[in-house]
């Protein structure tokens, strides 16, 4: 047993639902107790989907356990087929149904339905949501995709975008445009908006674009082995990664690399003088492995931030994230324990967090601004406007999104100059936000080392430091004092530390 407070990922059957809900013409019969239908609201409320997920639940109760839950499943599967007339039927069990071992696959097979029946094995007590999505897409592809003649013109499939994904809807549009510029057509996008009949056409593509390794890698590997379709390894999030992606695709497709950068603004926005204040901002990056790797690269190479810590919640990505952390010279944090992440952030006291909705809550509590870069996300991360993460526009969106939580450049200077002015006082916060964020100092203070004492005068001097760097000043000074075995911090110590850490 392991105590969980908040979870980054749901159970594997929720991953299967993300695939089923993204698709059309497919129905999923889930053997599950009453109550598991809560998962519907993830899609209808968080993502504002205007259709119910194509999922029928057997919703068995205690009194059914005494009789025959297998009959209940069989009847539910038949009724679902009769009512929805899907092109293919998926069947599986949630955590409780896994325990009663009714064999949904066998039962559904025995119905003799005139459409393919795809049984799913979703080990609820070992694996999680991303595995469930990845495994489900693999099983769909295995069941439906067959070798066939390639399209005359070079084409590819886009693999991985699901329902409830972070900006998947808009990433599809952006990547499709990137490929079109190079004269490459998109054959099938899956699972997003694909029908089982579309999946059957998978083999016509020349190669696959793996958009999200978390949900599409197993399918891509299988397609490589069985349909002889190579797949891309670069995820085009950020300017550098988009350029790399274009090169990789050009090689796979045998065409010339081509990237229209006329709409690309990140590099100039980053170079313009207002962005000087971004230099060396200490950021902590956490999320799914793919988005963390992309965000860390952007943070360092395209924004000029300093990555002070990074990690991911999906253990499947532990290896690449550990390697990435080595490259960045930081300790990787591989955990799905929210409290551990919070403790690490409190300890590092970064000036900004790039994380998930969990980290947004941590940031709110600690008074550290946070930009969301990865699932799990909430309703506000499904914006009405076009807002991709991938490609050229994705890079522009990322610049805006990451800078938004911070105090703006010129404003930062004004804060220095007019520290005593009521309008620019420390607690006022960024002028473009309705509510001033709590100064990051609160976090540092709460977790500050108790064995160093600030003398009154030094404490007063520290208050003169603008709030958004005060946390860092406090931490640095305390570390400086601790290193030298000083128990007290005077004004002198404060300025010695400042000189010591001066860049």
């Amino acid at each position: 047993m392991k105590l969980a407070v908040w979870t980054y990922e749901g159970p594997p059957h929720v991953g299967a639902m993300r695939v089923a809900t993204a698709m059309k013409g497919l129905h999923f019969v889930l053997h599950a107790p009453q109550g598991d239908t809560y998962a519907d609201l993830l899609f209808t409320m968080i993502e504002r989907r205007n259709h119910r997920p194509p999922v029928s639940y057997t919703t068995f109760q205690a009194r059914d356990l005494g009789s025959d839950t297998a009959v209940l499943f069989r009847d539910a599967a038949q009724a679902a087929y009769d009512r929805f007339q899907p092109q293919a039927l998926m069947v599986g069990a949630s955590c409780t149904a896994e325990l009663i071992q009714d064999d949904p696959g066998g039962l559904a097979e025995a119905l003799g339905l005139p459409v393919p029946v795809i049984p799913l094995e979703l080990p609820s007590y070992q694996r999680k949501e991303n595995f469930g999505a990845d495994e489900t897409l693999l099983q769909i592809v295995r069941a439906l995709a067959r070798p066939m003649a390639r399209t005359a013109h070079v084409s590819c499939n886009l693999v991985g975008p699901t329902a409830l994904g972070f900006r998947h809807r808009d990433d599809i549009t952006e990547v499709t445009a990137l490929l079109e510029e190079m004269g490459i057509a998109v054959n099938v996008v899956a699972p997003y908006d694909a029908t089982p009949a579309d999946i059957a056409r998978f083999g016509a593509a020349h190669f696959n674009v793996l958009m999200y390794p978390e949900t599409g890698e197993s399918a891509c590997r299988w397609l490589e082995r069985n349909l002889d379709q190579p797949y891309t390894k670069t995820v085009p999030i950020g300017v550098g990664a988009t350029r790399d992606f274009v090169d990789e695709v050009a090689q796979l497709a045998g065409v010339a690399p081509r990237l229209d950068t006329s709409r690309l603004r990140l590099p100039w926005y980053s170079a313009s003088v207002d962005s000087t204040y971004l230099t060396g901002k200490r950021v902590f990056v956490f999320g799914d492995g793919t988005h963390v790797a992309a965000a860390a690269r952007i943070a360092r190479d395209e924004m000029g931030f300093q990555v002070v810590g990074l990690g991911c919640y999906n253990r499947e990505m532990a290896r690449p994230i550990r390697a990435l952390a080595r490259d960045f010279g930081v300790d990787p944090l591989i955990t799905d324990d929210y409290l551990e992440v919070e403790a690490r952030i409190a300890d590092l006291a970064p000036e900004m967090i790039l994380g998930t909705q969990m980290e947004r809550h941590i940031g709110k509590r600690l008074g550290i601004p946070c930009a969301v870069i990865s699932a799990p996300v909430h309703v506000q991360d499904f914006p009405a406007r076009y807002s991709p993460q991938m490609g050229i526009e994705g890079a522009n969106v990322i610049f805006d999104t990451w800078v938004h939580p911070l105090v703006m450049g010129l404003e930062e200077h004004l804060l220095h100059m007019f520290r005593e002015d009521p309008e620019f006082n420390d607690d006022a916060g960024p002028s473009h936000h309705a509510h001033g964020a709590r100064p990051p100092e609160a976090a540092a203070q709460a977790n500050g080392s108790a064995n160093v004492i600030w003398m009154d005068e030094a404490e007063r001097e520290l208050r003169k430091v603008p709030f958004f760097v005060r946390g860092k000043a406090r931490r640095n000074t305390e570390a400086f004092a601790a290193e030298r075995g000083q128990a007290e911090i005077s004004v002198e110590t404060l300025y010695e530390a400042k000189a010591h850490y001066a860049r």
């Binding site: 598991d36 609201l41 955590c95």
Partner: protein, 425 residues
């Protein structure tokens, strides 16, 4: 409102449509979301799966607290394969929790679908842990599993456990069963005090220190209609239940107060006198919404068991026309006073086959459908106005001062649709 024992012209005698099929409802674990707020010295430890943890955070919608007073001990492969002794695992997790959270005075071990299917005996665990941790921390257990409970039945299971554990007390007293938002609870206590009942006991108790007992001279009234098991438990403990319409709207609140007053020998005229001003306020507030709701055809899907009393409020006080009133369970004794105030006409349905019920919704095309979050947006996309039912559970809706708010919850979706001049495609 006059309360007739059994009028021939009401839904109390109507045949009930009983359905079995896919249930689109939460499980009882969801009740933890509001119960832990009502009992600030408590912790709810679900013994379950990742699904349980995911449900709790999805139903809560937002994460307000970094470390909430509930959590899930997630069963793992080793627990199921019998490699680890689940009872020992519970002891270890509880030990760890209580050493970190020394403020916990009441610990609830909450059963889930998987813990019940593997027949994990939580009452045994609670007994053993009580021997170790009481009186510092009392340990209880109840089931919030989907195979045993739907949504609000989680509160019922919790309160039933609490009622079962109350010490014997022969004093003449009143217990009010059902969790209410603090603001509403205070209004209720003021109203009761105004009619002369000031020593009122509450279930659930706010803290473990609020000692209450139960016995043959205890009278119990309910402010939530979903407390069927709690009702049966207090009966077993010898207490005497007070049946009344639930205190929604002006009429419901007055009828409820008079039923309580009657049991304690208080003249109904006293109730009329002290409630004159709030009754007028409630009437005025509801009247403002009535123009949006009068004559509107309403379909209530089964969700929280609040459906019957809310249907009474909608039809009797807001002038709405009821098409179907669904409820997960129909507890006759508790809901009869409300049922008998609903004029014949609507289908009264118990249980659910969601697909068939949606067919009926589409055929009837109601002006307003009260339903769960999983169905609301899809129905809106079909051009049907909806009110999500969960808001009725989380919002203050009881008693006079909330009557207008309650009507407003139903009226707002209709007003909104009238305001929007761009059609959603």
């Amino acid at each position: 409102m006059t309360i007739q024992p059994k009028s021939l012209s009401s839904c109390a005698q109507a045949p009930v449509l009983k359905e079995r099929g896919q249930h689109e409802v939460f499980c009882g674990l969801t009740a933890i979301i509001w119960l832990h707020r009502k009992m600030p010295d408590s912790f709810f430890l679900v013994i379950g799966s990742r699904t349980c943890a995911h449900l709790l955070q999805s139903a809560a919608g937002v994460m307000i607290f970094a470390e909430p007073r509930f959590g899930t001990a997630i069963l793992e492969e080793t627990d199921l394969a019998g490699m680890a002794d689940a009872q020992q695992e519970i002891d270890r997790e509880v030990e760890r929790l209580l050493s970190r959270r020394t403020d916990i005075r009441r610990l609830f071990l909450v059963g889930s679908c998987p813990s019940e299917v593997i027949k994990l005996d939580l009452s045994k665990a609670a007994e053993r842990l009580n021997a170790i941790h009481a009186p510092q921390t009392q340990v209880f257990n109840f089931s919030g599993s989907g195979i045993e409970t739907t949504f609000t039945q989680g509160e019922d299971a919790c309160l039933s456990t609490l009622a079962d554990g109350l010490p014997q007390d022969n004093a003449h007293q009143l217990i009010i069963a059902g969790a209410l938002p603090d603001v509403v609870q205070d209004q209720m206590l003021d109203l009761l005090s105004a009619i002369g009942l000031s020593d009122v006991k509450l279930l659930p108790q706010r803290t473990a220190q609020d000692n209450i007992g139960i016995g043959p001279n205890t009278h119990v009234t309910f402010v939530q209609p979903f407390l069927g098991d709690t009702h049966d438990t207090v009966l077993r403990r010898g207490a005497k239940p007070i049946y009344a319409p639930f205190p929604f709207g002006e009429l419901g609140t007055t009828a409820w107060l008079k039923a309580v007053a009657g049991r304690f020998g208080i003249d109904p005229a006293v109730v009329d006198r002290v409630t004159e001003a709030p009754r007028a306020r409630a009437r005025k507030a509801v009247a403002a919404m009535r123009e949006d709701l009068a004559g509107k055809r309403v379909f209530l899907m089964p969700d929280s068991q609040l459906e019957i009393p809310l249907a009474r409020f909608l039809s009797r006080e807001c002038g709405a026309e009821l098409i179907e009133v669904g409820t997960p369970f129909l507890h006759r004794s508790l809901t009869e006073p409300d049922l008998s105030e609903i004029a014949p006409g609507p289908v009264i349905a118990e249980g659910q086959d969601v697909e068939k019920q949606l067919d009926r919704v589409r055929a009837a095309r109601p002006d307003l459908t009260v339903c769960g979050l999983g169905l609301a947006n899809p129905l809106e996309a079909e051009g049907l106005a909806t009110k999500w039912a969960i808001e009725l559970v989380f919002s203050p809706i009881h008693f006079y001062e909330q009557a207008g708010d309650l009507a407003g919850l139903f009226a707002r979706p209709l007003r909104r649709r009238a305001l929007l001049k761009v059609a959603a495609e």
